[in-house]
């Protein structure tokens, strides 16, 4: 009984004192690996001892889940590592878990998350809270397939994630572009909109046949960002949104986003079910896929360069679905990444897993099985490797790679995304009567608390 009390009071004092428990061996391993003093063989040996890797990722896609179970798990088993795929409904859940564990004093080697599939705000949060493992990505053997040379402008996608410097703390896993699909059975080619003005005109004529995923889901945030780019009052598009909120300031941001938000407000009466009172925004892309398949809406916008090809193959898209250029010049392109949290319980196994994910072999089978575009850079591959990757592509339907490249736009800085999202929720969803600059100012103040 006495021992129990001692144990209890000890743990209470630990929690109260905020002391960080850590596994000194894990810390030494991390420092050694980041400094380049641990060779890959030692990582492999340690990974075998650790035995498991807990990968937290959004589990809402069947093809990805199947690919994880059938391809990744056996490949990692060859390295003596068991893949524990933890399928979550929102990436933020994993970030919250890491932060909660760190707040509870679980330091290096003591947490429960080994790796997270993420980008944007979630990475920015982990970075801000100092909850990342460190600059592991350029140290992976397969990082040779990734462009790290900052002088090459194409490396920006690998070095910056939503305007936040990655610092090598996450490794690119897939690169996506925001592409819309249209059901050509229902929309004549001449009516397919390519600008926001044309979309509004189409919905004035046939109301209710469009909706977008509801922010704060990132697919919805991206639609809002593209709208804001296109309505930038200075006409400078995405380039005005690449600095952090501290640099731009609330007042300037409010000025830049006002026309875009006013357009979205004006669009509301034309959205799905708007005639029944309030417009209906789907919670996530799978809900929007369902509406598109059922003919409730005629368009489906999301990150999915190969979404139509895979959707047609799996029967989750209507047969006449085709991709089209929308909005002209503002089709947002970004990468998503695998990051290792600071308190990963199996850091070596996480390194083995992220290295496998960056291999040509796994990128090829991922592209083939799930339609997720590669995260590695084709110009860094040998000709044969690049050809095998290109051959695995499910293909574009209705537009060409040149169309995509010509209309590409970068993502918004992560610190702005939070503010824009909060403003959308307040101005569009909650129908706030406050002017936009007041809402933006309030959001900035809340977020900086």
């Amino acid at each position: 009984m006495k021992k129990l009390f001692i144990g209890l009071s000890l743990s209470v004092s630990l929690v109260a004192g905020g002391a960080m428990a850590e596994d000194p061996e894990a810390t030494a391993f991390r420092d050694g690996f980041i400094a380049g003093n641990v060779d890959w063989q030692a990582v492999q040996e340690r990974a075998k001892k650790e035995g498991t890797v807990n990968l937290y990722y959004w589990g809402g896609s069947d093809p990805i889940n199947i690919w994880m179970d059938r391809t990744v798990a056996p490949a990692l088993a060859e390295e003596g590592v068991t893949l524990n795929p933890v399928r979550i409904t929102g990436t933020k859940d994993a970030v919250d878990l890491v932060l909660a564990e760190m707040a509870a004093g679980k330091g290096p080697g003591e947490g429960s998350v080994d790796a997270i599939w993420l980008n944007g705000e979630n990475f920015a949060t982990l970075k801000r809270q100092n909850a990342l493992f460190g600059a592991f990505a350029p140290k992976l053997p397969n990082s040779k397939y990734i462009e790290w040379n900052a002088e090459d402008p194409r490396s920006q996608m690998n070095l910056r994630d939503f305007g936040v410097e990655t610092g090598g703390a996450e490794v690119p896993w897939s690169g996506e572009q925001y592409v819309c699909a249209v059901n050509t059975d229902r929309v004549a080619a001449a009516d397919v909109p390519h600008t926001f003005a044309e979309l509004k005109a189409y919905l004035d004529k046939t109301p209710g046949k469009f909706t977008y995923v509801k922010p704060p889901h990132y697919i919805g945030n991206t639609f809002v960002q593209a709208t804001i780019y296109a309505h930038n009052p200075d006409g400078t598009g995405a380039s005005a949104f690449q600095e952090s909120i501290d640099v731009i300031g609330a007042e300037e941001l409010a000025r830049l986003i006002t026309p875009g938000l006013e357009y979205l407000k004006a669009l509301e009466p034309g959205l799905l079910d708007a005639n029944g009172g309030s417009p209906r925004y789907p919670e996530d892309p799978s809900a929007l896929d369902g509406m598109f398949l059922n003919g409730e809406v005629d368009f489906n916008c999301k990150f999915g360069m190969f979404a139509v090809a895979t959707g047609l193959a799996q029967g989750t898209y209507p047969e006449a679905a085709e991709q089209f250029v929308f909005p002209e010049g503002n089709m947002i392109k970004n990468k998503n990444y695998l990051a290792i949290p600071a308190n990963a319980p199996n850091p070596a196994a996480a390194l083995i897993m992220t290295n496998y994910m960056s291999s040509v072999e796994s990128q090829t089978s991922k592209l083939q099985g799930t339609g997720m575009p590669p995260g590695i850079d084709p110009w860094k591959l040998s000709e044969a490797e690049a050809a095998s990757l290109a051959a695995a592509s499910p293909g574009l339907v209705g537009l060409t790679q040149a169309d995509l490249d010509a209309n590409a736009a970068p993502d918004t800085n992560a610190t702005l995304v939070d503010v824009i999202e909060a403003t959308w929720l307040e101005y569009i969803e909650r129908d706030s009567t406050d002017p936009i600059d007041v809402i933006v100012k309030r959001a900035v103040e809340n977020l900086s608390k």
Partner: protein, 302 residues
């Protein structure tokens, strides 16, 4: 001088000790887990969250902001509407079913098992069934389109995802009417049918028999079962989240949205929402119980 303890006293003490031991597991779960969580929730809703770098305890601004906004009251009205509507329909259907069950009819033994089926199936499965059957693009809409009643599944009348909440109420009733039936059926079996038969022989009409004989007898069952399902309905999250009509959401969904926001300080607002739900639910339930106790005392039951 020491008196030898009488053996009865020692036995009595042993029994007391044994009783305490029996109470201990549940009591400790309630106080430590439940009570602890409640205390933490109240603390957080009053601005105590040093792990987010927020500590303004005691700070009533989170409640102020919440209760001061029009959308909170909209959400509360919606929450109460779904909860009360579902409880009421379940109650009526459950009582009717229980009254039918005490009578004899062909196939009764099979039916006795059949009606309990939803009790064993989780809510989420019920929600999935609603989506598959009732959604636009669900079975009914496709059958209607196939039969030529509508030209396209998307024209099917919207049942789910509206603020009328028919989908939510349907799932609750599907699951809870059997529960009410089970409770009231058990009470009816315990009471027996003699009093009803006596009333009928003495010339009471069917309505008189129900309202003046049967209803007072099954009232304890009605109160306990509606208490439980209402408490569940007011705090339930999945059904309104998946089948609800979007903004304005019910209070549990509002709380979830706050927790899920990129802005971590909004989690305290979420806690204030959770504490508000607990306050409102317990207020309603205590009033309900107090009224019932008063009624019981009035009719001389204790």
């Amino acid at each position: 001088m020491k008196n030898p303890k009488p053996p009865e006293l020692a036995r009595h003490r042993r029994e007391r000790l044994w009783m305490m031991l029996q109470l201990l597991p549940v009591f400790s779960v309630l106080t430590i887990l439940f009570g602890g969580a409640l205390v933490l929730a109240v603390l957080q809703s009053l601005g105590f969250a040093p792990w987010f770098g927020v500590n303004t305890f005691p700070d009533f601004s989170y409640f102020g902001a919440l209760w001061g906004s029009y959308s909170f009251w909209q959400s509360l009205a919606l929450t109460l509407y779904y909860a009360l509507m579902a409880t009421f329909i379940s109650l009526v259907m459950g009582v009717l079913l229980a009254l039918a069950m005490v009578r004899m009819f062909p196939g009764k033994s099979l039916y006795k098992y059949l009606y309990k089926l939803p009790l064993m199936i989780p809510y989420t499965v019920g929600i999935a069934l609603a989506v598959i059957m009732l959604g636009n693009g669900g079975m009914l809409s496709r059958l209607a389109a196939f039969a030529g009643l509508i030209s396209d599944p998307s024209e099917f009348p919207q049942i789910l995802k509206t603020h009328y909440g028919w989908g939510i109420i349907a799932v609750y009733v599907w699951k809870q009417a059997p529960f009410v039936t089970l409770t009231i059926y058990a009470v009816l079996l315990g009471v027996g049918r003699e009093t009803e038969e006596a009333a009928t022989i003495l010339g009471a009409s069917r309505w008189q028999t129900f309202f003046q004989v049967t209803l007072p007898q099954i009232l304890p069952g009605i109160v306990s079962s509606t208490l439980i399902i209402f408490a569940f309905n007011i705090g339930a999250f999945e059904a309104p989240f998946i089948l609800g009509g979007g903004y304005p959401d019910t209070l549990p969904v509002v709380a979830w949205r706050y927790f899920n926001d990129a802005d971590y300080t909004l989690q305290l607002q979420g806690m204030a929402t959770v504490v508000s739900i607990a306050l409102i639910a317990s207020g309603i339930l205590f009033t309900y119980l107090a009224l019932y106790r008063r009624y019981e005392r009035r009719i001389g039951r204790n």
